[in-house]
Every structure is written in structure tokens, then in C-alpha cells.
């Protein structure tokens, strides 16, 4: 659950962090007006929820307001990482003396928050971590104690920040930690935190990712999330409570449970097939969910068959079978579907499916092999038609 840069900056500013001034435009005219209001050079920055916007041409310098209009127009026509650019942020270009990286995130290994800083700001921190790991300073935070001033001074010292900047740096890091805790963020990041001509520290870019599990207690943040961003199928999967990740194979997968769904993809590949997706239908494979899941899988026309693998534990197999039959009547399915049911009330479930067009499998291996054979039988030429 990521926020846009302009939203993240607003949040940081509310916590007392100096951020670069800027306004959002939705079209060329707007960008032009903002740029002429600032006068001089401006940065035009695509507002998208994916990373890598700089490399994709989503961040550019404009020399004047005419230039700003033209560049904003170009950027607003881009699609970056599957997201259409719908807004640009227009900010005055500032003179940079030094760029710093500053972030707080969860450390999975140590099970606590971590403050991360680097003197090599402005570039991808993962590249820095890989190529020059000693340029990164870290301090681990005790959750019950919170971030302490001395920890911030530790990293300031390690990244060779001049000591005259320390009081301001400490204030920013502490405010950033507050923003992280108060909003249930999983990452708050300033990259770069710039030392400008006046020797002041300013957040020139800002990133906030929120914990989706905590949104229920963060009503303000919930309103900030752009639920309509991304692909239609992703929005639909979210609505139905399904976990879906698109891949590029021909065998669609519909499975209950995340681990089993990954295991199903793996076994398809192990026997020489290619999974088309990851899909965890979650608990209770009822008609609405199965039908919705099938529609999402079938929207990809590379899919030549679907493998349904359900382990009936709490959800009984006969319930699942009824859900499947109802869903098959509801969705227009033109390709063969292989079903493997196992667990509680399996026999009853299989008996219900006997008269259907579904192809039944005895085991996971059997199901994978049957699905792969079906794809092969459809002919090898077929896959190249859609291989874009």
C-alpha cells in the first residue's frame, strides 16, 4: 500500500520535516501555470506507485514554463511499471551540495525497526548495498524503547555528516520515526535528503509504504490510498479477497492456500509445463470466489487449461464441488479444466463432479501431468501466436 510522492511529502511536512515545495498538475496547462509561478528551472516528476520512474523517463528538468508544459505532456502519456501516469509534481529545481539517504523500515531478520542512512543518496539504495556496503549505516531500534537521539548521531557520524548539521538531522530522523509508527508504515524513506546552498536539509523525494494489515485503524491513510491504480484484474482480485500474481505460462492455477499454490506452480514446472499465474483463493472456495477467480485467470488468452487444486480441510470437498459446478455454469469456459480434490469429504465431492466436463485427477502429480498433456495436445505453434 504505497502513497504517491506528493502524499508522502505532505505527511512528512506535517511531522515537521522540510520538504521541497511543489504542486500537482493533471495536464500541460496546469504544469505550465505552476512553473511560471515558480519562475526558473523546475522538476517535473511523474506520480506513480511503481519504482524506477527516473529510468523510465518520468522525472525531467524544465527550463521554463513552455518547456514545463511540453515535458509534463510527455510524462502524462507514459505508463510506468503497469501504472498510467495521471499526475505530475512540479517543483523548483534546487542546487544540491550533498545527497543523503535516510529511511526507517522493518528488519525481518532482527524483528525490529531499523534506521538506515547513507552518504551516497539519490541513487538506488539496493545498488549501494550491493556494491559499497560500508557506505550504509544502520541502527536497530528496540520497539518498546523507540528510536533514540544517540542512535541517529551514530549514523550521522558513520556517514560523515558534518556535525553542524547533526541537530537538524536528528530532528528529521526522529520525525521520520514518528511518521513510521503513527501511520503503521512498513517503510518511510527520504532519498535524497539534500543539503542545499543554505546548508539546510530538505527532503526532495519521499516514499511511504503502509502496512495493509493496519489500514483498518488508519482511516486517514485509507483515504489516501489510490484503490483504482493498477490493472483492472488486480483491483478485482483484491475485491474478492484473492491473492493473484500473473505469470506468462499456459496453465492457469486455482488453489486454496498460498504455500500449496506455490507448490502447484512448482510441480507444473518440474514436469515440463509453465504456470500462468499464482492464485490463492483463501478459505472457503464458494461459487462467487471460484467464478471470480476463473474470470481473472481466463482473461489471459495464453491460458490453455486450468488446474484447480483444492485441499479440503476446514472447507469440505463437497462444498467446494458445489461451488465449482455453480461457477462453471456462470462463467463461459471454453478450455479444459483439471480438478484435483483431496481431504475432508473427498469421495462425496468427486461423485458430484462425475457428470461435469471437468477432468478429474487422483493426485497432485497426476493433475500436473494431465494439464501439461492438454497443453501439448493443443499444439506447439499455438503458444507463439501470443508470445508477446
Amino acid at each position: 500500500m504505497k502513497l504517491y510522492e506528493y502524499q508522502a511529502k505532505k505527511l512528512f511536512a506535517q511531522n515537521g520535516i522540510s520538504v521541497s515545495e511543489g504542486y500537482v498538475a493533471v495536464d500541460e496547462e496546469g504544469a505550465k501555470n505552476i512553473a511560471s509561478g515558480f519562475g526558473g528551472d523546475v522538476m517535473i516528476k511523474a506520480q506513480v506507485l511503481s519504482g524506477g520512474r527516473g529510468k523510465a523517463g518520468g522525472v525531467k528538468l524544465a527550463r521554463n514554463s513552455e518547456d514545463a508544459a511540453m515535458i509534463a505532456g510527455e510524462i502524462l502519456r507514459l505508463e510506468i511499471g503497469g501504472y498510467k501516469v495521471r499526475n505530475v509534481l512540479v517543483e523548483p529545481a534546487i542546487v544540491i551540495k550533498k545527497e543523503i539517504y535516510l529511511a526507517i523500515t522493518n528488519d525481518r531478520e532482527r524483528k525490529c525497526p531499523v534506521l538506515i542512512a547513507s552518504g551516497a543518496g539519490g541513487i538506488d539504495i539496493e545498488d549501494v548495498a550491493e556494491q559499497e556496503p560500508d557506505k550504509i549505516a544502520r541502527e536497530y531500534v528496540k520497539p518498546f524503547m523507540g528510536l533514540c537521539n544517540y542512535q541517529v548521531r551514530n549514523v550521522a557520524s558513520e556517514i560523515d555528516l558534518p556535525s553542524r548539521l547533526w541537530p537538524e538531522f536528528v530532528q528529521i530522523a526522529m520525525a521520520l520515526y514518528d511518521a513510521y509508527v503513527e501511520n503503521d508504515a512498513t517503510i518511510v524513506e527520504i532519498n535524497p535528503l539534500v543539503v542545499n546552498e543554505e546548508d539546510a536539509l530538505i527532503a526532495v523525494d519521499a516514499k511511504v509504504v503502509l502496512d495493509g494489515n493496519a489500514l483498518m485503524r488508519q482511516p486517514e491513510m485509507r483515504e489516501n490510498i489510490d484503490w483504482g491504480a493498477g490493472q483492472e484484474y488486480e483491483i478485482e482480485a483484491h475485491r474478492l479477497g484473492l491473492s493473484y500474481v500473473a505469470l506468462d505460462g499456459q496453465i492457469g492455477c486455482l488453489v486454496n492456500g498460498a504455500g500449496l499454490a506455490m507448490g502447484t506452480m512448482d510441480i507444473i514446472e518440474y514436469f515440463g509445463g509453465e504456470p500462468a499465474n499464482f492464485l490463492d483463493i483463501g478459505g472457503g472456495a464458494n461459487e462467487e470466489k471460484v467464478a471470480g477467480a476463473l474470470r481473472i485467470i481466463l482473461r489471459d488468452d495464453r491460458v490453455k487449461t486450468v488446474l484447480i487444486n483444492i485441499f479440503g480441510g476446514i472447507t469440505r470437498c463437497d462444498e467446494v464441488a458445489r461451488g465449482l459446478i455453480a461457477a462453471m455454469n456462470e462463467v463461459d469456459v471454453e478450455i479444459p479444466i483439471v480438478v484435483r480434490l483431496v481431504g475432508t469429504n473427498k469421495d462425496e465431492g468427486l461423485r458430484l463432479l462425475e457428470d461435469s466436463d471437468l477432468i478429474l485427477a487422483d493426485s497432485l502429480v497426476d493433475a500436473a501431468k494431465k494439464a501439461i498433456e492438454l497443453v501439448k495436445a493443443l499444439g506447439k505453434d499455438d503458444r507463439y501466436e501470443h508470445s508477446d
Binding site: 548495498a129 498460498a258 507448490g263 476446514i314
Partner: protein
């Protein structure tokens, strides 16, 4: 023999009067688990299934019942409080089934649980099962039989798949522990492998890992140094793309870390036999 739970385990159910709590309390009791108390704030004095007394607080429940294990079915935003309450009441084994607990809650819970010397299993886990003796959580009891194979897993239904496959092949389980699919949880592979190593009722171990984090790699280090019992592992997610969360909050490859192939390599190097798919596991056991 078994680890963590057996027929002497006295179980407290937090969230016992909720839909999930009631449903699974019934199942656990049918299995023979000794459910000695339940907790739902405001429902103290009630009885569940005419057998289990309900208390307002864990403190009162533990005092009255002598519970030594708690299983949690409360909604995600209240789960952290429930875990802290159970540990403070003196429970040494807390099992949290709830999925979707906020990450920052879990960091605080983990720090406190560690400081108290308690063990937390989960959250976002199916719980534990010692076949024939005790079932704590949501694992369907009838899919596993008694035996000498210890099972530890980050997954839910994939674990059931493995238990089922073991049963079909005539093998049984000493204890099955679902440690859960969250990035920050109470227990890792290393902890459970050590317990299986010490358990005379466990002769060999099945470990079911998945992409994300470094738990399998840490387990491999432990296996090299301290484990003598034979281990078979399956690691799910070889085909998972990087940067995408695969259902479980913790199942994500980030910045080259958490890849299934790295985990498989680390485990194979220390002598763990790797199954290509779940149905291969029985053949690889001794």
C-alpha cells in the same frame, strides 16, 4: 512422544465465543484436546458447549484452570493485545492462528515474548498437532496418523498436503508444527528443529519452507552444527517472480534475498534431501 503439546496440555482458547473460536474449539475437543477455559472480554461466566468456562481475562482463566497453552482466534487488530495478555498471565506456549496482524504490533509482541521466556507459534499459522493426543489450532486432525516423523512448515494447506501424503504412504507424524507465513513471527525453523532433535519420539524430520526471508538458510547453519536426525525438505516458490508477495505476507523475494534456489542449495549442502514436489517426500524418508 512429541514436542510442545501432548495429552497433558491444558488449552485456553482466546476469542472462544467468536465464530472461528467456537467452531475450532468444538473440533479440538472432538479430537480429544483438553480445553480447560476460554476468554472473551465481557462474556465471563458463560459456558461453551456446557463444558468450558468462559472468563473475562486471561489472568482469571489461568488462575482458575491451570491452563499452560493458549490458542488465539481473535481478529487481527486485537491479536497483539491477546498475545501480550496470555504471556503476562504466565502462559509459556501461545499459538496465534489469526492472519493479518499488523507488522509493528508483531515487533513489539516478539520483543516482549522473548523477554518473558515464552514461546509464540504464529501468527498466521495453522497451529500444532500431535496425532492421537492433542490438536491446537486448525489442522484437520484426521489427515495425520501417529508416527515418528516431525513436520515443521511455514504453510497451511501445503502442510495438510504433506501430512496426507505421509499418511497415504503409511507413515505417521510425531508432532506437526505450522510456524506461519508472516515476515515477523514467534518461532522459526531453527527453534523447532532443535526441539525435534531432542525428542526421542522423532526419528526424522520433514521441513516445508518457502520463498522470503532467511529462515531456511539459518536452519541450514543449525543443521550443519547440531542436528543428527535425517531431514527431508520441500521449498515452495521456485517459480515465483521477484518482488511480488505470494499470498503469505512473508513470501516475497526482495533484492535477491529469499530465493527458493538459494534456500535449496543451502539445505542440500548440509545433507538435507530435497523433494522436487510434495508427493516425493515419503520416498525420500528413511
Amino acid at each position: 512422544m512429541s514436542i510442545l503439546i501432548d495429552q497433558s496440555t491444558r488449552v485456553l482458547v482466546q476469542g472462544i465465543t467468536g465464530k472461528e473460536g467456537l467452531f475450532h474449539t468444538n473440533r479440538m475437543m472432538e479430537y480429544g484436546t483438553e480445553i480447560v477455559a476460554g476468554v472473551t472480554p465481557g462474556k465471563g461466566g458463560d459456558w461453551v458447549f456446557d463444558k468450558v468456562p468462559v472468563f473475562n481475562t486471561c489472568k482469571a482463566a489461568v488462575l482458575a484452570s491451570g491452563a499452560n497453552c493458549s490458542v488465539i482466534y481473535v481478529p487481527a487488530l486485537y491479536a497483539a493485545d491477546a498475545m501480550l495478555e496470555a504471556v503476562t498471565a504466565g502462559i509459556k506456549l501461545v499459538v496465534c492462528i489469526t492472519e493479518g496482524v499488523p507488522l509493528q504490533d508483531m515487533m513489539r509482541v516478539r520483543e516482549y515474548v522473548d523477554n518473558c521466556g515464552a514461546r509464540l507459534i504464529g501468527p498466521n499459522c495453522p497451529g500444532l498437532l500431535t496425532p492421537g493426543e492433542c490438536n491446537v489450532g486448525i489442522i484437520p486432525g484426521d489427515i495425520a496418523r501417529e508416527g515418528n516423523v516431525g513436520v515443521v512448515s511455514r504453510s497451511g494447506t501445503l502442510t495438510y498436503e504433506v501430512l496426507h501424503t505421509l499418511s497415504e504412504s503409511g507413515r505417521g507424524t510425531s508432532t506437526c508444527v505450522g510456524i506461519g507465513g508472516d515476515p515477523i513471527s514467534g518461532t522459526s525453523f531453527v527453534d523447532i528443529l532443535r526441539l525435534f532433535e531432542e525428542d526421542p519420539g522423532t526419528d526424522q524430520i520433514v521441513m516445508i519452507g518457502e520463498i522470503g526471508g532467511q529462515d531456511e538458510e539459518r536452519a541450514a547453519e543449525q543443521i550443519a552444527d547440531r542436528l543428527s536426525k535425517p531431514i527431508v525438505a520441500f521449498v515452495a516458490g521456485r517459480t515465483a517472480p521477484a518482488g511480488k508477495t505470494m499470498g503469505h505476507a512473508g513470501a516475497i523475494v526482495e533484492g535477491g534475498s529469499g530465493l527458493a534456489d538459494n534456500k535449496i542449495r543451502a539445505l542440500r549442502e548440509v545433507g538435507v534431501r530435497i523433494a522436487n514436489h510434495p508427493e516425493e517426500i515419503p520416498e525420500l524418508l528413511k
